[in-house]
């Protein structure tokens, strides 16, 4: 592990999926770390592999995914490599839900319609904290109050269909945090919510994080949310991390052409209108039979032929704690070509 305060360290994670047409190299060597109490944003669009990476940390990927690499977790029993733990053993189950929790995009499908919300939150409590019925019910209700569910005692016995979208997301957060985990993985938790509800949920997560001294891995494609929530950001493209750094650095001083393109694609609310948004040409290719070299080569404006399409770029430091995987960094000033201030 890098430092004493590191909670999770992912080293060279590879995830391959066997398909009829060949092997899908969904995640191609991802490395990052999350320290205690910090929020790391994992930014990327569809097909970049961020969901698979998150699920790998909890070892809940499907059978057809073959994973290699290291995921070191600073658990209660010392540092363990999650990928080496037996997938159905008691150690990983002790970690899931208790030390590492996850919340998802669609809260509606995360709850069984057959049981009450309280019952399902309590399932977690009874499993990891106490088997005492009365005590666990109290703890669960307490957590529901903490996430801002009004009338928690009454709501405890209600079914998912009686909750609104925002309420369900709060209930999901309650379920995830009731055991005071070290790490919370949030996979696009607010994408499906209305703007005003989204703001409430994001605030809630930030409050609870401060209170519980928890680390958060926040996965999203929304740059506004990242700016609001994250301390550090890792930008993913086609199964690799192309840039990591503190959030201010990433926004004010992006170096990788994809990051620059991404930030330029979004109109910042409350700012003067531009004539055109910067758009990256082309679309994300399928991660099947990828050619050698940088995955972003086809769509890059600053590509260097003979270099970028031949070997993979390695991560280089371009600022304090700011790393970029790009051959063209420092070679040409790509920013001119992008027309971004």
């Amino acid at each position: 592990m890098d430092g004493k305060d590191t909670i999770v360290q992912v080293n060279n994670l590879h995830i391959n999926i066997k398909m009829d047409e060949g092997i899908l190299t969904a995640v191609r060597g991802v490395s990052f770390h999350i320290d205690r109490g910090e929020t790391l944003g994992l930014v990327g669009e569809s097909g970049c592999g961020k969901s698979l990476t998150c699920k790998a940390i909890l070892a809940i990927n499907e059978q057809k995914c073959s994973t290699s690499g290291e995921i070191l977790f600073n658990s209660d029993n010392g540092v363990v490599d999650i990928l080496k733990l037996p997938p159905k053993g008691s150690e990983i189950r002790n970690i899931r839900g208790k030390q590492i929790s996850m919340i998802f995009q669609e809260p509606m499908v995360c709850f069984s319609p057959l049981y009450t919300i309280g019952n399902q939150i309590n399932e977690c409590t009874r499993l990891h904290i106490t088997k005492d019925k009365k005590k666990s019910r109290e703890i669960s209700i307490e957590m529901m109050k903490k996430v801002g569910i009004a009338n928690a005692e009454k709501r405890y016995d209600q079914y998912p269909h009686e909750f609104s979208g925002g309420m369900l997301q709060r209930a999901l957060i309650a379920m995830a945090l009731v055991c005071n985990p070290k790490l919370l993985i949030a996979d696009e938790p607010t994408t499906a919510l209305d703007v005003t509800i989204q703001a409430q949920i994001l605030e809630l997560i930030k409050e609870l994080q401060k209170e519980l001294k928890m680390s958060v891995l926040f996965v999203t494609h929304d740059l506004g949310t990242v700016a609001r929530m994250c301390d550090r950001v890792a930008v993913m493209y086609l199964g690799k991390i192309v840039e990591t750094g503190p959030v201010e650095e990433i926004y004010l001083n992006p170096k990788h052409p994809y990051t620059i393109g991404l930030i330029g694609s979004v109109h910042k609310i409350g700012s003067k209108r531009k004539e055109r948004l910067y758009s990256i040409d082309g679309t994300v290719p399928l991660a099947l039979n990828l050619p050698a070299g940088c995955g972003f080569y086809d769509r890059c404006n600053c590509r260097i032929e003979g270099v970028c399409n031949v070997k993979e770029p390695k991560a280089v430091a371009v600022g304090p704690d700011h790393f970029v995987s790009c051959h063209a960094v420092g070679q040409k000033t790509c920013e001119e070509g992008h027309g971004i201030e």
Partner: protein, 336 residues
């Protein structure tokens, strides 16, 4: 009057089933000039999608008028014209849909999807002419015309959306209702499609009604913006005016809730109490009063009138004149 291409007047859409009445759209009125883009924003249950579909006659409005000024200069109520006139005018007002997967018939080739409006409106057109037109439109929206014989499943979400745009454009409409056209797409593809829509507008002189829940996109693309809440229009103004100086408390709260893509900006959200009410059971008086921080006694009893408070600026709030609400300051690009 005639420099408006579209005038929406008192549009209502009410759904009734058994004992439940849902007022999806209540008394919406606004005007659009030729070549403008009007953005309609709101959260779930506000009725913006229903509004768009009523305007285009995809669903039948309960009452109201959509006065359309055709190319010949005459004005017709699009919702109340006879069958023959409808057939003539229908091609002028088209729609782009949100979901790129359900808006294309998966069993038709892309060529057939794009030429279907041609077949319906220009039955005398020769097949070769139709194919030429389809190829022309496809290239215009950035699709490779050699791919037209493929089926929709061969295309990505962004490309499908382009097919939808091509289908809407192929019969030369003058007004296009865009119902969340980029919400289902990745961020970088959104930018491509938004740029495309703007280019097409400039080139073809199109008028857009742009429905979205994404305020950043709406701010970027719209000339004027209307904010909807629970079926009613609560504010309507020019984009910069609305975003910098909102007059309705809901607009203020909405603007403050959007996370800004700039980590140096501190979030200063106006907290909204409670949740969006059930559209089948709206609150008394002003629909927003239960959640409004500026609510007074009058708001609980009397529904505010939608009135023109300044030139081309409308708002439905009893206290619009006295409240000093917070918006974005464009000067130093930092929120107040």
């Amino acid at each position: 009057m005639s420099d408006y291409i579209l005038q929406i007047k008192n549009l209502y859409k009410v759904y009734t089933s058994k004992n439940i009445t849902v007022k999806a759209v209540t008394d919406i009125s606004f005007n659009i000039k030729k070549g403008e883009t009007i953005g309609i924003v709101g959260e779930s249950g506000c009725g913006k999608t229903t509004l768009g579909r009523c305007i285009v006659r995809g669903i039948q409005a309960t009452s109201g008028q959509v006065l359309y000024t055709a190319e010949d200069g005459a004005t017709y109520d699009f919702l109340n014209i006879d069958k023959k006139k409808l057939k003539e005018l229908r091609k002028d007002i088209q729609m782009i849909f949100q979901d790129p997967y359900s808006s294309l018939d998966p069993r038709m080739t892309v060529l057939n999807i794009i030429t279907e409006p041609l077949k319906a409106n220009f039955p005398k057109m020769k097949k070769s002419e139709m194919e030429l037109r389809a190829a022309e439109i496809a290239e215009k929206v950035g699709l490779n015309s050699s791919y037209l014989k493929r089926y929709p499943h061969a295309f990505s979400g962004g490309q499908r959306q382009r097919i939808g745009i091509a289908r809407a454009l192929v019969i030369n409409p003058r007004v296009i209702v865009c119902d969340e056209p980029v919400s289902a797409l990745d961020v970088s593809i959104q930018a491509q499609v938004i740029n495309l829509l703007k280019d097409l507008q400039r080139e073809l002189g199109l008028t857009y009604i742009f429905i979205s829940h994404d305020l950043s996109v709406v701010e970027h693309i719209s000339d004027k913006v209307g904010v909807m809440y629970l079926g009613k229009m609560v504010e309507f103004a020019e984009t910069e005016a609305l975003f910098s100086k909102p007059l309705h408390p809901y607009t203020e709260a909405l603007l403050s809730s959007v996370p800004v893509a700039d980590p140096t900006v501190k979030m200063n959200r106006i907290p909204l109490k409670g949740e969006i009410p059930n559209p089948a059971n709206p609150p008394s008086g002003c629909y927003f009063h239960e959640r409004c921080s500026y609510c007074i006694d009058r708001c609980t009893k009397e529904s505010p009138e939608y009135r023109e408070i300044e030139k081309d600026r409308f708002v439905a709030c009893h206290r619009a004149e006295e409240l000093k609400l917070r918006g974005f300051s464009y000067d130093d690009e930092k929120a107040i």
